[in-house]
Symmetry: C2
Subunit: 331 residues, 2 copies
């Protein structure tokens, strides 16, 4: 393993692939790898790319990877596929995409479809990001499918979050949309050769505008945001960019936008803040994993099953069951 | 509070609304409410409805609620909006929908947009389901936006999961789609008056067919599924239904499909299995919440912040930090 990790730090592709597989299959391997590689991390620009199915996100990510690669960057793509451990569908998609990127030097694509023993996709993703970071990939593109809570969380762990839409998708009253816009550092309307594209751009710009207006009266996360806007009076202006990924159009501008966002983060206190936030949430998640591992180890399977049955049969309620389990654990 | 909970059990709308608000704002209230109401739960048919934005899901849910209501059921809608605590966008959407359902006796709609102290949407949703269940709502529709991991998890907590698509959305190679199809008990192509509808139906049917073929060679969750298919040789045949929710078309057939699924669950061992699975995952989540609460209480804020800084500065790695924190907690 140590030999393998040394090779990872040298950027050896086969070593990287093997370590990722080990990480996916074993907590212990993840522990060893992340501990050993951690001092070598912290250089990569982590970019989250999210958006609904059908927005052409994968093509966009591929094109963006090629663009960064052509500019001399080593690029890793982590394609998160939260819901297909079952069918192996990810493998098919992966093969198609790998073919597309074959021969592109310095682009490494890895799809995370399985939920291994690491206790969830978020943990595995975070460990794999560290592998690429230590292997001196300057750009790590984390692509998430969908627009759910997990996607929001993974995107929050990135330095720069790009939200991709397609024409016609942002036109209804969509309560979810407002939330996803809040996490976007850059908005992209892909498939912008379609006639409805401009309308979607306008709709998104309007929602952005409304969001900024709403900032003023709010508290909590928004108060924090206001604060950071105060320390950096210019703030960051979220832009709506247009692309036709399949034709390679607008990709250069998007790459420039992403670089500009990085420059903004570094010149303000935002980079440090985001690093801090990421570490905090990673520690919290890992602590929970640790707790569950210890818990499953300590409380016999039979007594857990017994309690589950009692709850199902309404003999005791959930909270009483949790009280008992937690007490057993703490003894 | 006790008085309020008694009124909940009598089905008093204002008491229900107040208890839900209390639950959203306080762990302690959730504890009290769920403990008190739990023995009265277990009667409701919990139906998860999920699908991408733009599929017309909300309209479909409204129409379905009206249908069930017309058939004499008390219906609750829980509209999950994971990502808009920020802008208050959900409130707007809610008001529009409430107007739409105003005057419909026995339909209660509640949108869950905030992430209160309950430590996450999943916990809050689960508590609110129990309130409606105890208040003798026979049908609880849980509507999730998006197609992410959180949505899959929430859908898994339902007895019956309906996945909604719109024409043209299932035509690309979408690795995520296969996974979301796996959780569907019923598939719906809404907006089926569009010309591409039939093609989407065919595409989904093909994916379903492929999924069933894939079942044979797999393990884990699929092995479990095979097993349950063996104990009930007929199994459950996932159907693709077509609706035009905005015109009320196909809603009756969907309601019938949902009832047929319930009948299947009850006649097989599946209902008990799903109840068991739900309780297990709820207990696990509540245990984690309990642990984190205890942890935050026990480890001073300063020493946590100190450790986060050390990790950010690469003085120690994440795993070492977790080791220390967990040790401090266990002492």
């Amino acid at each position: 393993m140590n030999d393998l990790l040394e090779k990872v730090k040298e950027g050896n592709d086969r070593a990287i692939a093997r370590v990722i597989t080990l990480i996916e299959n074993s907590d212990k391997a993840a522990h060893t790898a992340v501990s050993a590689l951690y001092p070598s991390t912290g250089q990569a620009h982590i970019i989250g790319i999210t958006g609904p199915p059908g927005s052409g996100k994968s093509t966009l990510v591929n094109e963006l990877a090629k663009r960064f690669s052509a500019d001399g960057e080593r690029v890793a793509i982590i394609a998160i596929d939260p819901s297909s451990p079952f069918t192996g569908g990810a493998l098919l998609g992966d093969r198609v995409r790998m073919q597309e990127l074959a021969g592109q030097d310095g682009i490494f694509i890895r799809s995370m479809a399985s939920r291994g023993s690491l206790g969830g996709l978020a943990s595995a993703t975070s460990a794999v990001i560290k592998v690429f970071d230590a292997a001196k990939f300057g750009i790590i593109l984390v692509e998430t499918v969908g627009v759910g809570q997990a996607e929001v969380d993974i995107a929050r762990a990135a330095h720069t979050t790009v939200v991709v839409e397609a024409p016609g998708m942002g036109d209804d009253i969509q309560t979810s949309k407002a939330g996803i816009l809040e996490i976007a550092d850059i908005l992209v309307v892909n498939k912008s050769d379609r006639p409805e594209a401009l309308r979607t751009v306008k709709a998104l710009e309007m929602m952005l505008h409304m969001g900024q207006a709403a900032d003023i009266g709010h508290h909590g996360q928004l108060a924090q945001r206001e604060q950071s806007l105060e320390t950096n009076p210019q703030g960051w202006q979220v832009e709506v960019l247009q692309t036709v990924a399949i034709e390679g159009e607008g990709i250069r501008e998007l790459a420039e936008g992403i670089r500009a966002h990085k420059a903004f983060l570094l010149s303000s206190s935002e980079w440090a803040q985001r690093e801090n936030q990421r570490v905090r949430s990673e520690l919290e998640r890992m602590l929970q994993d640790r707790f569950m591992t210890q818990f499953l180890h300590k409380i016999p399977k039979g007594s857990r099953a017994h309690l589950v049955s009692a709850v199902v049969n309404r003999e005791i309620d959930l909270y009483t069951a949790v009280d008992r389990l937690f007490k057993q654990f703490s003894e």
